[in-house]
């Protein structure tokens, strides 16, 4: 898992860095000022993948830094507002930033919201490292929803360690329904099911 410092280093020297540095300085002084740069981050910081932060784009990383610049005593509440008023890209950036922020398990309701949506991008972003705070039934349902919606299971952080017999049972039931309907089971889900069942025996 990356860190805020690693994201800062990956952004330093990019074309959008001077803009971001100024926005971060302002946000530290006056947290309300983070609202506008948070929305315009894609246009100002760019949207390219960051070579030094695999899996992160420049706008996502810039948004994570803006959230990390908020005073620790209000970050949990503000993160909720940034998510609530965010467009799909902003919501994704919030979800990805959650494990990097000093908020403990307070943002779990945001994950549950993202998992309730039918937007594959949000569902995938909700199953990063912060999903360790989800209780097992919610986490299993989210994994099964990925299979159902065709979200590749490599989006699920720590799948290998956390997948259990209960998930295997749910996957087996799903495979049975798919077989009955004459529709294929996604290959990654079939592989996971096969691994989980072979472990049991």
């Amino acid at each position: 898992m990356t860190t805020i410092d690693a994201l800062r280093k990956a952004l330093t020297g990019t074309p959008g860095w001077p803009w971001l540095e100024e926005a971060l300085a302002k946000a530290a002084e006056r947290p309300e000022s983070a609202v506008r740069p948070f929305s315009s981050a894609g246009r100002k910081a760019g949207r390219a993948e960051l070579p030094d932060a695999p899996g992160w784009t420049a706008d996502e990383a810039a948004r994570a830094l803006l959230l990390a610049a908020l005073p620790p005593d209000r970050v949990a509440g503000d993160v909720t507002a940034f998510y609530q008023y965010g467009d799909a890209d902003e919501k994704r950036a919030v979800l990805k930033a959650l494990p990097l922020l000093p908020i403990g398990a307070q943002a779990v309701p945001l994950l549950l919201d993202a998992i309730r949506t039918n937007d594959a991008r949000l569902l995938a972003a909700a199953l990063g490292p912060y999903a360790r705070h989800l209780d097992p039934p919610a986490w299993r349902q989210a994994v099964l929803k990925c299979v159902f919606m065709g979200v590749p299971l490599d989006a699920v952080h720590g799948l290998g360690e956390r997948a259990d017999a209960e998930l295997a049972e749910m996957l087996a039931a799903f495979a049975e329904e798919r077989a009955a309907a004459g529709r294929p089971m996604p290959a990654d889900a079939a592989a996971l099911l096969s691994r989980l069942t072979s472990e049991e025996t």
Binding site: S40, D87, A88
Partner: protein
Amino acid sequence: MRIFDPHIHMTSRTTDDYARMSAAGVRAVVEPAFWLGQPRTNPGSFTDYFDSLLGWEPYRAAQFGVVHHATIALNPKEANDPRCRPVLDLLPRYLDKDRVVAVGEIGYDSMTPEEDDAFERQLALAVEHALPALVHTPHRDKARGTRRTLEVVAASGIAPERVVIDHLNEVTIELVHGSGCWAAFSIYPETKMSPPRMVEILRRYGLERMLVNSAADWGVSDPLLTLETAEAMLKAGFDEDDVDKVFWRNPVEFYGQSGRLDLSAVAGADEPTFAGSSIKRGGE
């Protein structure tokens, strides 16, 4: 033929509509925030709606190869409801977002003092957030409403070329033509404008600063009337380039003024559009 529908309420349409639009050549749409038939009773209903216009609806559109942008505002009708007005204070939260290409629909419904206030405040927000404005003209008392609209626009200080006055007809185009504002027309199966009448207006007033939309919504309307109007233009002697100007390059030019129109997912969108303006992301 590539079609950009500059005003359509896709939230009210089905996936069948998206499939038919896509097959007809509709590659891009702008969905203005408006009323929903059923009145809203609190600001939260608006924010859920804005959320949908900026999250779920573009996602749905993309699955049919249609690029979706939105305009955000408190509409004129609900500007009269004190339960809805607090949404005016929430608008700045939405006006810097990527897919927001104008403030709208704003303007008049019944021309009340409350509508004056919401209209003026939202024109000021458009200036502050460097956005064009999409202005609805009233169904009733339309000519007077259009005249008053032009006065308020002029007094607001927004550049006229950053304003489109919508739902015009043979009478109200007379007022808007020459004002510097863009003129938009909604083609409906029964009311508003029809394809043959639209072609006549284009013949008479030319193609500059003209937008044609379906304004399809939850009422009797048809998202393919853009195509039908384009075909009527061809039959009346306009050429392919004229049709491309009205149904692609003009909307790209108008909403491109936001610096936020992202047509990178549209094949052929990079073809020459208009001088000196980029349609690429980051063109702000």
